[in-house]
């Protein structure tokens, strides 16, 4: 870990301005991912702006019947919220499928969206990594890639977005609300929030330097049955090999997004439309153009089988 300076921001505008003014500054909230990465010098910010005192810790009803989740609501509180459990079950299920109780107590909603990949080569500073050091190459390509991406990846990077919560938010068509140093606000659909790597895998999201997440909004409830099927090598405290977030209506229509397969929660709306035709039809469309490695090709049939499990349960 390199030495850094630290300030605790009093208001969102000042926080955004402080980070915007310094290209190697970062926001910190729960720090459950950032601090680990700083210890091994994968992240080397020179300045941290702590946003924990900014409020943003409420879950409120919106005028159009949805919910507005403050950026600093902890994963634990979000998953436990009675409205979320009743109307957005997929989100609660996704959150409690991730990390551990201790981490969920500390991790924030915004931080969860911004967690970085778990590619082992990203974690080892002796290895080439375009995400960590742009232009250095990608040691994961041709290496141990069992956990890595099968679609939406590029010649520069085959990492995945590792989270669970965002996969559920993608199915729910959530949006990310931000403010920047000039006070400008915008709402970014979850579909557009995480980037495909292309030739800039160092940029995980569309956020600009100093753009601060203030909330995540959920549209009004979808009804239907909610599922989060997470497949992993052990029963808990592991990243998904493949996960499936789904909301299935009584008539067999619905929505589905996949985690653990791509640089972002992977949802193809055209594939949603095929849900009444079964899992194989959906995944054939959703994973069209997939480029798996030998190590992770199993993720494609696994995605189909995991979705088939969800659809069988939806019918039961």
């Amino acid at each position: 870990m390199r030495a850094f300076t630290y300030e605790r921001a009093r208001d969102a505008g000042a926080a955004a301005r402080a980070v915007a003014a310094n290209p190697s500054a970062k926001f910190i909230a729960g720090g459950t991912n950032l601090l680990d990465l700083m210890k091994i010098e994968v992240e080397v910010p020179t300045h941290l702006v702590d946003v924990q005192d900014l409020g943003f810790d409420k879950i409120e009803a919106t005028r159009d019947g949805g919910l507005r989740i403050g950026a600093l609501v902890t994963n634990t509180n979000l998953a436990a919220d009675a409205r979320v459990r009743r109307d957005y079950g997929v989100l609660t299920r996704a959150i409690v499928a991730g990390a551990s109780g201790q981490l969920r107590n500390k991790a924030s909603t915004a931080g969860n969206l911004l967690q970085r990949t778990r590619c082992p080569y990203f974690y080892d500073t002796n290895m080439a990594c375009n995400k960590r050091r742009p232009g250095s190459g990608c040691a994961a390509i041709g290496g141990y890639s069992r956990q890595l991406g099968v679609i939406g990846v590029s010649d520069a990077c085959i990492a995945t977005f590792p989270g669970d919560m965002a996969v559920a938010m993608r199915v729910l068509d959530a949006a990310v609300e931000t403010v920047d140093g000039t006070g400008a606000r915008r709402s970014i659909p979850m579909a557009d929030f995480h980037r495909l790597w292309g030739d800039r895998p160092d940029q995980d999201t569309v956020l600009k330097q100093g753009e601060l997440i203030t909330a995540v909004t959920l549209p009004k409830p979808l009804g239907g049955k909610h599922f989060y099927e997470k497949v992993r090598d052990r029963a808990s405290y592991a990243y998904a090999l493949v996960s499936v977030a789904a909301v299935i209506q009584p008539d067999g229509t619905g929505r589905v997004a996949f985690g653990g397969v791509a640089p972002k929660p992977w949802r193809v709306e055209a594939a949603d439309a095929l849900l009444p035709r079964g899992a194989a039809a959906v995944t054939a469309r959703a994973f069209q153009g997939a480029t798996p490695t030998k190590d992770n090709a199993f993720k494609l049939p696994l995605a189909t089988r995991a979705l088939a499990s969800v659809l069988a349960e939806a019918k039961a």
């Binding site: 870990m1 390199r2 030495a3 210890k39 091994i40 010098e41 778990r118 082992p120 080569y121 974690y123 080892d124 002796n126 290895m127 040691a139 041709g142 290496g143 141990y144 069992r146 956990q147 099927e229 497949v231 992993r232 090598d233 052990r234 029963a235 808990s236 405290y237 592991a238 990243y239 090999l241 079964g278 899992a279 194989a280 190590d295 199993f298 049939p301 696994l302 189909t304 089988r305 995991a306 979705l307 088939a308 499990s309 069988a312 349960e313």
Partner: protein, 735 residues
């Protein structure tokens, strides 16, 4: 005391304290944080500085430039030590590769420098400023490629690596029922909770090291060799160890770096390995490639059995002895076992809990399951049919005790084995395919000399001093029980001091030899102390009875306190062994039963219940023994389902070098566990009549899991761990 003939009746047989369940005497210290682990002894020291280790960024090659200027100029830095300024370092007897590299690099994350600073954060930050250039060499990282030309290599120097009885090839060729199958096990990391950690402090030319080590005398001796100094000048302390699993059998770089750092900085220095460093800087259990051939007659009698294994290690290393149990576990007139050893430039392979048997039984016990199926026999009946009460190579040599059959049959009864459907893939519980599996457990017992000193204080307190270690196993407790039984005092009247090189050399903790041998050493010292007490009282030692805090001889009686009133009594002795272990085969036996569910859709495997039945001599403390066995069973589940150090064959290192990516079981993976100990006392083993269980509990678990998965699904997986990518395409179609 030389143990040369089978033990007769002795005070331990009273079993008033020994053999009884006691929670750990050190438990309150550990649960309240008062037991100081290696990194926590600063309470005894002032002015402790922090060392942070810089590891090699390449697996093989040479350091061409090492620039410590920026690190030395960084805030708080006191010293930076590299091979260039460490002085000439020796290499210990027990580590294959030197613990400090440079200029030659032998493996990834080999220690190349230690940076010492006032604070941990300063040392870590400065470590990132050490600039090292390398000339990368060509390393050998591919086990399968290297095994193609690997020579036969035995576990010991004079073994030729091949063992034959009868004529295996012709017997196998003519056997009516045959199996010929290959199995693989991956590299495993010890992944113990407490990382390697040491604090070193110099006083003139004398060195004191608080460390985390299973074998005090081995560690102290090798540290002396490494630093080219007399062993007598080193005090080596390891009173509490947060898990070792064999990773801490030997001196590791943390102690060497702490000693070098402390010498350079002129202050006490503490060093702990960071977690991402543990997999490649340390040793690991080597991967194996195993081939098993079994031939049998139609009635299930094994006529030919061969087990061949290949593994790799650094130059001058040793093979993973995965075939040795196959020499002893089942009958069969024609036999072959062999091992090949390839040279690899991956980190050093070495002992990990139940070395040899753990990966060996992961293969052999699946082969037995496969063979039983070919014979249309129940897998327990097949094992029972091929039980042997003698060493198959030397039928005059009997097992001192062997209750494998009883372990299997009693376990079957307890586990409800009769409810198992012999046809795989038939039992369904909702989305889950359910199956049961069984495996034999086998692990040899090893005799090790072990010493202790026992004091009877004027206050009547019995104090035991031995350099034995407690690695979370319960040594403090069972040693106290032994001394209490021998001296006829309550457990609370015994104080146990461990892990200090100023105490008599013990067996140490490893190879499941610790409990039996260390308590036997305490037994020997207590026999001497009893003599001293009797002599002080003028009693005839032979008929003195020690019980209830008193010594009684005929119609005379005195309390121990009275006996010591004129001054503390001290006795020291060690147990040494004759050749009983040559006359008899000393082994431990068990049976593992596992029920699993396999998700019919996703292939996810989840354990449902487990049972181990163990026959391992006298159980000194059922509570600590059970704790050892359920922990070992958990480790067995890890090796069956998830544990694998992933090798990057291009760069020559274990890629998944942290606990997020090297997965071990979490609580949710481990369901109901039961352990049964058969009532045994092995008088050929030692005066305690005890053997070990800490590794027996692991041996066979992986095979039982794999067999249960087969029974659940009908899919046979011969490559560990059983991750779903290996069999998803063989599960029934669902979509």
């Amino acid at each position: 005391m030389k143990f040369e003939t089978a033990a007769g009746t002795n005070p331990i047989d009273r079993m008033k304290v020994v053999g009884r369940a006691h929670t750990r005497t050190d438990g309150p210290l550990k649960t309240t944080g008062l037991a100081p682990y290696a990194y926590e002894h600063q309470r005894d020291l002032e002015n402790v500085a922090y060392g942070y280790v810089v590891g090699a960024a390449v697996a093989k090659g040479r350091v061409t430039m090492i620039d410590t200027t920026a690190a030395k100029a960084a805030p708080g830095v006191l010293a930076v030590v590299t091979a260039a300024d460490a002085g000439k370092l020796g290499k210990g007897k027990f580590n294959t590769v030197k613990l400090m590299g440079g200029p030659e690099v032998d493996h990834y994350h080999q220690a190349l420098a230690v940076v010492v600073a006032n604070t941990f954060e300063q040392a870590r930050a400065a470590a990132g400023l050490v600039r090292i250039d390398y000339a990368r060499g060509n390393g050998r990282f591919d086990l399968d490629a290297a095994l193609k030309t690997a020579p036969l290599t035995g576990a010991e120097k004079d073994d030729k690596g091949e063992d034959r009885v009868g004529k295996f090839e012709s017997a196998f060729a003519s056997a009516p029922v045959k199996l010929d199958a290959e199995y693989t096990t991956p590299d495993h990391s010890h992944a113990m909770m407490e990382p390697f950690a040491s604090i070193a402090t110099w006083n003139g030319d004398a060195l004191t090291v608080w460390t985390s080590n299973q074998m005090i005398d081995w560690g102290r001796t090798d540290l002396a060799i490494t630093l080219n100094m007399p062993k007598e000048k080193i005090t080596f302390l390891s009173p509490y160890v947060g898990g070792g699993f064999g990773g801490k059998l030997f001196l590791r770089s943390d102690a060497v770096m702490a000693a070098l750092g402390a010498r350079a900085a002129g202050r006490p220095v503490k060093v702990a390995m960071s977690r991402p460093f543990m997999a490649n800087n340390a040793t690991h259990r080597p991967a194996t490639r195993q081939r098993i051939r079994i031939g049998a007659t139609q009635d299930g009698t094994i006529t030919a059995i061969a087990h061949e294994s290949g593994s790799g290690d650094q130059p001058d290393g040793g093979p993973e002895a995965a075939v040795l149990q196959t020499n002893l576990l089942y009958a069969g007139a024609n036999r072959l076992t062999s091992m090949r050893l390839a040279v690899l430039d991956l980190p050093e392979g070495n002992a990990m809990r139940a070395p040899g048997e753990a990966p060996g039984l992961m293969a052999l016990e699946v082969a037995m399951d496969e063979m039983a199926e070919k014979l249309r026999m129940d897998p327990i009946a097949f094992r029972v049919k091929n039980d042997t009460q003698v060493d198959p190579k030397d039928p005059k040599r009997k097992f001192s005790q062997r209750q494998l059959v009883r372990c299997l049959t009693e376990g079957a009864q307890q586990f409800g084995w009769s409810r198992r459907n012999a046809t795989p893939g038939q039992v369904r519980d909702g989305r889950w395919l359910v199956g049961m599996g069984v495996a034999s457990a086998f692990r040899n017992h090893m005799n090790m000399p072990s010493g202790a000193r026992v004091r009877l204080g004027r206050d009547g307190v019995v104090t035991v001093e031995t350099d034995m270690t407690d690695i979370g196993t319960g040594s403090y407790t069972i040693i106290a029980q032994t001394a209490a039984e021998m001296m006829g005092v309550p457990l609370e009247t015994v104080v146990v001091k461990l892990g200090d090189s100023s105490y008599p050399v013990s067996a140490g903790s490893g190879g499941q030899f610790g409990a039996a041998n260390a308590t036997a050493g305490v037994y020997a010292a207590c026999v001497k102390l009893r003599d001293a007490v009797a002599q002080r009282l003028g009693y005839n030692s032979a008929d003195a009875v020690f019980d209830g805090g008193k010594v009684t001889s005929g119609n005379r009686s005195a309390t121990l306190r009275q006996a010591a009133s004129a001054g503390e009594l001290v006795a020291e002795d060690k147990v040494e062994f004759g050749d009983l272990d040559k006359t008899w085969q000393l082994s431990t036996f068990g049976a593992h039963f596992v029920e699993v569910g396999v998700n019919a859709y996703t292939g996810a495997i989840r354990l449902r219940r487990m049972l181990a039945v163990c026959a391992a001599g006298r159980i000194i403390n059922p509570t600590t023994a059970r704790s050892q066995v359920i922990g070992a069973m958990t480790m067995g589940v890890g090796s069956a389902l998830m544990e694998e150090l992933a090798v990057d064959k291009r760069f020559g290192f274990f890629v998944n070098h942290d606990l997020a990516s090297y997965e071990v079981p979490v609580h949710a993976d481990i369901p109901h566990q039961d352990v049964i100990f058969l009532d045994e006392a092995d008088d050929k083993a030692n005066p305690m009549k005890a053997k070990g269980v800490g590794e027996l509990g692991l041996c066979g678990v992986g095979g039982a899991v794999a067999n249960a998965v087969y029974n659940a699904t009908g899919v046979r997986i011969r490559d560990y761990p059983l991750t779903l990518d290996k069999y998803l395409d063989r599960l029934p179609a669902v979509a």
